[in-house]
C-alpha cells in the first residue's frame, strides 16, 4: 500500500505544478475531479470489482508517471503511421498538446476551439465535463483533473457538408509519462459530422494514454465516430467515450483495435430522446501479449429507440480480449429494439477471450437479443478452398480477412476504409495455421 501512496503523491505534485497554467474556467472542474480521484483512487480491487473483472488495472496504476511535455515533431512522420487525407481537417496532438493542422485551408462552418484557451465563450466551456461522470472512475477523474489541449468541436445547426475531422493523438513514447487527450463534440439540430480519433505512437517504457471524449448528439443530428487504437506494446491506454443522444439523433461508432499493451475502451451511450438510435461496431485484433478490454454500455432511457452493438475479435499469440457489453432498458423505454453480438475467432492455443454480453430489461414491450460466439477457423471452409487450389496460408488469411471485413466494410469514409483494410491485411500473422 505504501507504494501506491507514493505514486499518488506524484499526481499531487504534478497537479500543483500545472494548476497555475490552466485556464481559469476549468479550475473548479479540475479541483472537483482531483478530489474524487483522491477519494476513490484507481479501480485496482480484484474482488467484487465487476467493471474490471477481466482486466487488472494494477500494472497501469503502479507506475510513477510524470505528465508528458510537448515536443515538436515532423508531421511527415505522422503521416506514415496514421490515416490522414488532404480533404480532411487533420489536427495533430503530441503528448496531449496541440501541434498543428496539416490540411489545406478548408473553410467550414464547424467551429473547433482549443480547451486550453483562457478566453473561451461560456457556451463552449460549460459543456466540458457535462457528460463524463467520473464519480466512480479514477481514470476518468484523473483525465478531468489533468486535461490540457483538446478540441471542442461545435457543429452548428443544419451543417451537413460531410467534412471529416481527423484527430491524431500521438504519444511520443517518453518513458514513464502519461498524456491526457480530451475531446468534446456537440452537434446542433439536423447536422452531421464525421470525426476520427487516432491514438498512435508509444515506445519507451510504460507510457500511458488516458483519454476522455464527450459527445452530444443533438436533435435529428448524426455523429459518425471512428476510433483507432494503434500504439506500441509498451503503452497502456484507458479511454472513455461518453455519448448522449437527443430525439431522433443517430450515433454511429466504429472502433478498431490494433495495438497497445493493456488497452481499454469504455464507451457509454445514453439514449435520452425518442426515436433515437445508435450503431456501435468494433473490431479488435490482438497479438503477442496484448490485452484489450471493450467495455460498452447502452442505456435506453426513452421509448422507441434502437441500438445495435456488434463487435468482432481476432486473437493470436498469448493475447487476451475482453468484451463486456451491457444493454439497459429502463422502465420507460418501451418499444426498444436492441441487438448485441460478440464474435471471436481464436487463432492460438494460448489466447483467451472473455465475453460478457449482458441485458438488463425493465420494460416489457421490447425486442432484445444478444449473442456471443467463439471458435477457430472452420476446417471445412479451408478444405474447400484448398480443393480449389488455394494454399493453406492464403486460405486462412482469406477467411480471417472475410471475418474482419464485415466490420471494415461498414466504414463510410472511403479513404479510411481502404487504409484500414490495407493495414489490417499487413498486420495479419504470417505463420501457418495448424489444423
Amino acid at each position: 500500500m505504501q507504494e501506491t501512496s507514493l505514486i499518488l503523491n506524484k499526481y499531487e505534485e504534478d497537479f500543483d505544478s500545472i494548476s497555475s497554467n490552466n485556464p481559469k474556467w476549468s479550475s473548479d472542474l479540475r479541483n472537483k475531479a482531483m478530489d474524487t480521484f483522491r477519494e476513490i483512487g484507481f479501480p485496482v480491487r480484484r474482488k467484487g470489482n465487476e467493471k474490471w473483472k477481466y482486466t487488472n488495472a494494477r500494472p497501469i496504476a503502479s507506475v510513477e508517471y510524470s505528465s508528458a511535455k510537448f515536443e515538436k515533431i515532423d508531421s511527415d512522420d505522422i503521416k506514415l503511421i496514421a490515416p490522414w487525407h488532404e480533404s480532411w481537417i487533420n489536427l495533430l496532438f503530441v503528448n496531449g498538446h496541440y501541434q498543428e493542422t496539416f490540411s489545406d485551408n478548408l473553410s467550414t462552418n464547424i467551429q473547433i476551439s482549443n480547451m486550453a484557451s483562457d478566453d473561451l465563450a461560456v457556451n463552449l466551456t460549460s459543456n466540458v465535463g457535462g457528460i463524463m461522470d467520473y464519480s466512480d472512475d479514477g481514470f476518468a477523474a484523473l483525465n478531468t483533473a489533468f486535461m490540457s489541449d483538446g478540441p471542442i468541436i461545435t457543429v452548428p445547426e443544419g451543417e451537413n457538408s460531410g467534412i471529416v475531422i481527423n484527430l491524431i493523438f500521438y504519444n511520443q513514447g517518453l518513458s514513464d509519462t502519461v498524456n491526457y487527450p480530451r475531446v468534446l463534440i456537440t452537434t446542433g439540430g439536423n447536422s452531421t459530422v464525421n470525426v476520427i480519433e487516432n491514438y498512435v505512437g508509444g515506445s519507451g517504457d510504460q507510457t500511458f494514454t488516458n483519454s476522455v471524449s464527450e459527445i452530444y448528439v443533438g436533435e435529428d443530428a448524426t455523429v459518425n465516430h471512428y476510433r483507432l487504437m494503434n500504439e506500441t506494446d509498451d503503452t497502456y491506454d484507458v479511454g472513455y467515450g461518453r455519448v448522449r443522444i437527443d430525439t431522433n439523433g443517430t450515433f454511429n461508432s466504429r472502433s478498431f483495435f490494433r495495438g497497445c499493451g493493456i488497452g481499454r475502451y469504455d464507451l457509454n451511450v445514453s439514449i435520452e430522446g425518442e426515436n433515437a438510435s445508435c450503431d456501435l461496431q468494433g473490431l479488435y485484433f490482438t497479438n503477442g501479449a496484448q490485452h484489450m478490454d471493450n467495455f460498452i454500455n447502452i442505456d435506453h432511457v426513452r421509448p422507441n429507440c434502437q441500438s445495435n452493438l456488434f463487435y468482432k475479435g481476432i486473437l493470436a499469440g498469448r493475447s487476451r480480449a475482453v468484451f463486456g457489453g451491457t444493454v439497459l432498458v429502463r422502465k420507460e423505454a418501451q418499444k426498444t429494439d436492441s441487438i448485441q453480438s460478440d464474435k471471436n475467432l481464436i487463432l492460438s492455443p494460448h489466447a483467451e477471450v472473455d465475453s460478457k454480453p449482458a441485458l438488463f430489461i425493465y420494460a416489457d414491450d421490447v425486442k432484445c437479443a444478444h449473442g456471443a460466439t467463439a471458435g477457430n477457423i472452420d476446417a471445412d471452409t479451408v478444405f474447400y478452398m484448398r480443393s480449389r487450389g488455394i494454399d493453406l496460408e492464403a486460405a486462412s488469411r482469406l477467411i480471417i480477412y472475410g471475418f474482419a471485413g464485415e466490420i471494415i466494410d461498414t466504414v463510410e469514409i472511403p479513404e479510411l476504409r481502404s487504409y484500414l483494410a490495407e493495414s489490417f491485411l499487413n498486420s495479419l500473422p504470417s505463420h501457418r495455421f495448424e489444423f
Partner: protein, 487 residues
C-alpha cells in the same frame, strides 16, 4: 397419472395462491437459536457422528467465522436485508424420530399424515408409479420408501446421517470433494451445520430401477434448513433423482442453504430434477424462503453425463447455480431451467459449465418468466480451459416479461482459452406475443388461459426433460403461479 396430487394439493388455505402454506402440528426438538461452536457440536452429537466429520464441521465453522458476514456474495442482482445468522434455529427435528423408525409402520402416524396432506404418500402400498421417496422434515429424514427394491439392485439410498454411520468410507471419500467447505459463504455455513439430506450410491453397472426422490419440508418457525445431498454414480451406472420442496407461510423469512454434490464416474449418468416450490412470500413481498443453494456435479469419468433440470417457482429469493465440472474426456453437462417469478420474488439463477476434459459438451437452455414486480436474472458461466480440445457449448436463454413493472436480465460470462472450442450463446427478451394471444382469443379461449397456453409452450422444451409425473406437476405449478398475472 389422472390424479394431480403428487406434490400439490388443495388444502383449503384461504386467500392465497400458495397451496402448501399450512403448518403441521408436530412436536419438535430444536436447538436454541443462534450459531456458535456449541451448536455445531450439538448437531454432530445429535447425529452421533464420527470424529472426522465433527472436525470437518468445525473447520468449516472456523472458516465461516473468520471470513465474517461481509463475505456473503453481493454480486447477484438481489435486494434483501442482511440476514441475522444468530436469529435462526439451526436444528429442528420431529421428536418422535429419536427412536429411529425401523420401518414405515414405526413412523409417527402424524408425520405420515402430514406428508399425505402434502400429497407425498409415504405408504408403499399407495404406489406412486415407482418412485422411492426420502422425506426430510425440517432437519431430519423421516422416512425412506422402497428399501427392499433398492437393496436388491444394490443401490444405497438413505438419509446422509444414516450413511455416515453405515457407509462412512463412501461418505468420507466424497463429501466435500465437489463443493469444498471453503467454496462460498453459504456452502461453508452448510458444511458446519448441515442436518440431513439424502445419500445415494449406485454401484458399477447398475441402472437404478426406480426414480429416487427427496421431499423437503421446512415446518418449524424461525428454523433454517441446511440439507446436504450427495449422489455418487459409480462406473457405468445410471440414476434419476428428483427433489421437491415446500414450506409453511410465515411472515418472517426463512433461510434454506443447501449443498448438493454429484459425482459421476466413467460412463455413468446422473439426472437431477428439481421442482422448487418454497413459500414465495405474499403479494406484498412479506415472508418467503431465502433459497441460497450450492449445487455442483463433477463429471469425473470419461463419457460421464450430468444433467440438471429445474423448475423454480417458489422462494422469495433464489440464488442458485447448478454447475457441472466436465473433467472426464467426452463428458456431457446439461442444464435446463424454468424460473418463474411473480409479485416481489427475485431470482438470480443459472449455471456454470467448466470444460476441462477433451471433447466435452455442454448445453444450457434457460427460460425466465417475470410477472408482477418481480426480477429474474439468468447468470451463467461457460469456461473452456486450455486442455479442453474440441469442447462444445450451446447456450440459449429466453426471457418473457408479463406486465411493465417486472425485470428480466441476462448476464452470461464466457471464457474461452482453447482455439478448437466452439461455443455459441444466444438470448432473447420479449413479452407474450400479441398476435398469438389474439389468435387464441378469437378462437374463444379466454385471456388468462391463452396466456397460460403460450407460456406453457414457451417452457415445454424444459418440461419434457422432467420425468413424466414431474412434468405434469410443473405444468400445474406454472398455472398456479401465473394466476392473476394478466388483466
Amino acid at each position: 397419472m389422472a390424479d394431480q396430487k403428487v406434490i400439490s394439493r388443495q388444502t383449503g388455505v384461504e386467500d392465497t395462491q400458495y397451496k402448501w402454506g399450512f403448518e403441521f402440528d408436530i412436536e419438535s426438538e430444536v436447538a436454541p437459536k443462534g450459531l456458535n461452536e456449541g451448536t455445531v457440536r450439538f448437531i454432530s452429537a445429535k447425529k452421533k457422528e464420527p470424529d472426522w466429520l465433527l472436525k470437518w464441521r468445525l473447520k468449516a465453522f472456523e472458516h465461516w467465522v473468520d471470513q465474517g458476514d461481509d463475505a456473503s456474495p453481493k454480486w447477484a442482482k438481489l435486494n434483501f436485508e442482511d440476514i441475522d445468522f444468530q436469529d435462526i434455529i439451526y436444528y429442528a427435528a420431529p421428536k418422535s424420530s429419536d427412536d429411529a423408525p425401523k420401518s414405515l409402520d414405526d413412523v409417527d402416524p402424524e408425520i405420515l399424515e402430514a406428508f399425505d396432506k402434502l400429497g407425498i404418500p409415504l405408504h408403499e402400498q399407495e404406489k406412486l408409479s415407482g418412485v422411492a421417496i426420502d422425506a426430510v422434515l425440517d432437519s431430519v429424514s423421516v422416512a425412506t420408501t422402497y428399501q427392499d427394491m433398492l437393496k436388491e439392485a444394490g443401490v444405497i439410498f438413505c438419509p446422509i446421517s444414516e450413511a455416515v454411520q453405515k457407509y462412512p468410507d463412501l461418505v468420507q471419500k466424497y463429501l466435500g470433494s465437489v463443493v469444498p467447505y471453503s467454496d462460498n459463504f453459504y456452502a461453508t455455513l452448510n458444511s458446519a451445520v448441515f442436518s440431513d439430506g439424502s445419500f445415494c450410491y449406485v454401484p458399477p453397472g447398475v441402472r437404478c430401477p426406480i426414480e429416487l426422490m427427496t421431499y423437503f419440508r421446512i415446518n418449524e418457525a424461525d428454523s433454517g434448513q441446511f440439507e446436504r445431498t450427495l449422489i455418487i454414480a459409480d462406473e457405468g451406472s445410471y440414476v434419476s433423482y428428483l427433489e421437491g420442496c415446500t414450506a409453511p407461510m410465515r411472515k418472517s423469512h426463512q433461510l434454506h442453504a443447501a449443498v448438493v454434490e454429484l459425482v459421476a464416474l466413467k460412463d455413468a449418468e446422473i439426472k437431477y430434477s428439481t421442482l422448487q416450490n418454497w413459500y414465495p412470500g405474499d403479494k406484498n413481498g412479506e415472508g418467503g424462503v431465502y433459497n441460497f443453494v450450492t449445487k455442483r456435479g463433477a463429471a469425473r469419468g470419461e463419457n460421464s453425463k450430468i444433467s440438471w433440470t429445474q423448475v423454480e417457482t417458489g422462494s422469495a429469493i433464489t440464488w442458485k447455480y447448478p454447475s457441472v465440472i466436465l473433467q472426464g474426456d467426452n463428458s456431457v453437462g446439461e442444464f435446463y431451467s424454468v424460473a418463474l417469478v411473480n409479485n416481489y420474488q427475485q431470482a438470480d439463477t443459472g449455471t456454470k459449465m467448466i470444460h476441462i476434459g477433451k471433447n466435452t459438451k455442454s448445453t444450457i437452455i434457460a427460460k425466465g418468466i417475470s410477472a408482477g414486480k418481480a426480477q429474474s436474472t439468468y447468470r451463467g458461466q461457460v469456461s473452456i480451459l486450455p486442455g479442453a480440445d474440441n469442447a462444445r457449448n450451446f447456450t440459449q436463454c429466453d426471457s418473457l416479461l408479463i406486465g411493465d413493472e417486472c425485470g428480466a436480465h441476462t448476464v452470461p460470462y464466457i471464457e474461452v482459452r482453447n482455439p478448437t472450442a466452439k461455443m455459441g450463446h444466444e438470448a432473447t427478451t420479449s413479452k407474450v406475443n400479441d398476435d398469438q394471444l389474439f389468435y387464441l382469443q378469437q378462437r374463444g379461449i379466454d385471456l388468462e388461459e391463452s396466456n397460460y397456453m403460450i407460456i406453457n409452450g414457451f417452457c415445454r422444451g424444459i418440461f419434457k426433460e422432467l420425468p413424466f409425473e414431474f412434468a405434469m406437476e410443473a405444468s400445474q405449478l406454472l398455472r398456479v403461479s401465473l394466476e392473476g398475472t394478466v388483466g
